[in-house]
Amino acid sequence: MSGHHKENFITKYIFSMDHKMIAKQFLLTGMFMAIVGMLMSAIFRVQLANPGESSWLYSLLPSGWTNADTGALDPDKYLALVTMHGTILVFWVLTAALSGTFANFLIPLQIGARDMASGFINMLSYWFFFLATVILMYSVFYDDPETANIVEGPASGGWTIYPPLSALKDAIPGSGGGMTLWLLSITIFIVGSLLGGLNYIVTVLNLRTVGMSMKRLPLTVWGLLITAILGVLSFPVLLSCGLLLLFDRSFGTSFYLSDIIINGVALDYEGGSPILFEHLFWFLGHPEVYIILLPALSIVSEVISVNSRKPIFGYKAMVGALFVIAFLSFIVWGHHMFMTGMSPFLGSVFTFTTLLIAIPSAIKVFNYLATLWRANIRFTPAMLFAIGTVSAFITGGLTGIILGDSALDINVHDTYFVVGHFHIVMGLSAIYGMFAGVYHWFPKMYGRMMNKNLGYLHFWGTFICAYGVFFPMHFLGLAGLPRRYYSNEAFTMFEGLSDINSIITFFALAGAAVQALFLLNFFYSVFKGPRATQNPWKSNTLEWTTPVEPIHGNWPGDLPVVHRWAYDYSKPGSEEDFILQTEPLKEGEKEH
């Protein structure tokens, strides 16, 4: 406890520098944003099932987003919802909230440190994120009073904000002030994310306790470390990408724009290229996929091992696979751009590097399966979600082999096949991983237990509904249906697809409702849940050696000393089926 001052309400709960409190701040903000993002998807799913009709759900929208006569959702605002849903889920929930919660919470606790390297920078990281959140939410309601006949609304050019659509306010209403706010918000978001990332890296490298060599790091910490490195290397590119767009929008430069007529007026921009934007964007955008996925996969590694009562299979291969995936993720961005007219040779190179990622991914799946083999599985809600992640990673990862192949991408690029693929492999895997993390470390976060049976219900409801939403999308894509269509009623070739759309929407609404079980369980347990014991899951890692009631500084006395790796579960020669990392090796005992 040395060096920590007495705290009042503000320093403890608001401007806290304690990594555990900051983690909870990220988690709660992320949960709020996840609800907003999910409601948006529920609303546009209703439009897709009943195109052009009114719905009571639309009353949740800001005024002016629906047609005054028919009550139907406005097509521009449909795109606004799609854009904000993507932005919120990709950046706010699965990047900031996932890493922000678990990197903050677990790194110091699992490496045996009192806190992050810099508590102050850590606090700043959250408050930048918070400010970015406020601006983004404000942008949803943005409307310029001077444009009386249209409601501008937030950014509407897709979460990838490709110019010229995102650069010209006459191209779509959301590209006015809403887009400026989006860019401002993401800029502040990136600052926060970089401050967090640097802190995570420094902490892991410098503050490990005695005996905690890199070879003994739990896989969670490995995953979070590599994620932070990816973020630090790629987010600055998105920052510059966004700044140049800001220049084009506000100061008349032509980085991305050339030869444009909009509303019958030929614009002065000349010599720029929208393709340059795509290169910069996806140089972040692809590592971003792994910034989302790796923390989830590493949480899952930990949860599966603990609840299988078995060491994670192939620890070194798991770490190696993380490195290979991280490295490859920087040289595959072009697979998002096969159809931009890029040189076919360049397309070949990106196909090659992209399909290579399947190898480390396959290794990870096989290792998870080998961990489950001859295990003694204890089905906590966290374990259910961890197995769900592996299932989603298999299902969604395989379709990547289709999309990564440039020749096949010609016909499925930008169709619902892509929507199905990334929602399963990235969305579901990551959100399941996040749920697994929350259920698993809740007792450490709040000193109380979440209700097991509600957790079971939550998992099965989510598992069934999520596949009901995203699996049928592959068929829509193979039928040739482009994504981001307000309705598919304009073309006779899509006439047979309305049943599939209704099924998807049914599962989407049911799946959204099921999440209420989680919220209920979470908030009930925070205040009323039964008290947790010190090590409820009989886990080996250091966080379970801290007192149940969390304290600033984590351990009351000296820092723990580590003598073994994190995965000695069911080790022959030991009576219990787990051995804490702080337990010295017995005489003649080999480490693995």
Binding site: P164, I261, F313, A375, I387, L398, N411, N453, Y486
Partner: protein, 326 residues
């Protein structure tokens, strides 16, 4: 009113659930067990659920494949498209086989190794031989797929333009498409966005000698088995020209001319016989471009040389169009 009722119902549901939670916790206190302790019974139930619901999911996948296969795109109607379909069939078969092996394996493991308090797990931390096998096996399969894929890609993209190749421009704007045929000389007249004015909707430079014989059309007619090279331009934002039946797609980018060459090999008539009378080839927009993105198509018609010649003769040249107006 309905919103209010829904809110009331939701509120009552939450209250009920909270009460149920309390009751279950109190009951377990009375019975002196921990409600959140995972018992052998729980492991049993959850293991079974993985088996039942997991296989339910796999059955759902099969059900979709059986019931929705007729909704998928018909076989390719272009030469390179046939090769793409071949690669697609092999890749799809491969991933389906892997899916139908790994997913059941996961669910069966979850069921089979469901825990019992009396049992201990098998300590098995690594095995080099196994790990080498499952690194090398996917590597070999992927190498084969990559080579096959790159060959198909190369053939689809690097199309030689010969004398026989018809050059046609497809021009995108919010929210519609316009086509321009290159005329007798098979060369498109130069165009510049600053020249877009009145009837000159594509900004064609009429001083260019190649321009006068160009023809602007609202439909695209192609001759079956004759190669065509589509050249794409955009007036405002990025669009994407997507011809799903031909396995053709290319972005239309303002400031840049992109292209895609292919040879259609089935006439619209043949396709109507195969797919039903409502069938038509269509070019769709496949890149988010604004509020009308979803409603932006242009009809393609593939026909015999005679039918094409008859149609083409009826279209007016640009020279005539713009001159008559002057």
């Amino acid at each position: 009113m309905s919103v209010f009722l829904i809110l009331v119902v939701a509120f009552l549901l939450i209250v009920t659930l909270v009460q149920l939670l309390r009751v279950s916790e109190l009951l377990s206190k009375i019975k002196n067990q921990d409600v959140n302790e995972v018992s052998d019974n729980d492991n049993n139930t959850q293991g079974w659920l993985f088996l039942v619901i997991g296989f339910g999911f796999i059955a759902f996948v099969i059900w979709q494949m059986v019931n929705w296969s007729h909704l998928l795109l018909p076989p390719a109607a272009s030469e390179h498209g046939v090769q793409i379909d071949g690669l697609m069939n092999i890749s799809m078969t491969l991933i389906l086989v892997v899916f139908f092996v790994l997913s059941p394996m996961l669910f069966i493991f979850a069921y089979k190794y469901r825990g019992k308090k009396s049992r201990k797990a098998y300590f098995f931390s690594h095995n080099n031989k196994l790990e080498v096998i499952w690194t090398v096996a996917p590597t070999i399969v992927l190498t084969a797929l990559i080579i096959y894929g790159l060959k198909t890609w190369d053939r689809a993209m690097n199309v030689e333009v010969t004398k026989n190749t018809k050059i046609i421009e497809v021009y995108a704007k919010q929210f519609g498409w316009t086509a321009r045929y290159s005329g007798e000389d098979n060369v498109l007249g130069d165009a510049n966005f600053r020249l877009v004015r009145g009837p000159n909707v594509l900004g064609v430079d009429m001083l260019d000698p190649h321009a006068a014989d160009d023809k602007i059309t609202r439909e695209v007619h192609l001759v079956v088995n004759k190669p065509v090279m589509l050249k794409f331009r955009s007036q405002d934002v990025i669009h994407s020209a997507y011809l799903p039946h031909f396995r053709v797609q290319m972005n239309c980018v303002p400031g840049i001319i992109t292209q895609f060459g292919f040879t259609p090999n089935k006439t619209t008539k043949e396709m109507k016989e195969q797919e039903g009378d409502e069938f038509d080839y269509i070019l769709l927009c496949n890149k988010i471009c604004g509020g009308g993105h979803w409603n932006m198509g242009i009809k393609f018609i593939v026909e015999t040389q005679e039918e094409y010649d008859a149609w083409y003769a009826k279209q007016e040249t640009l020279g005539k169009q713009l001159l008559t107006l002057k």
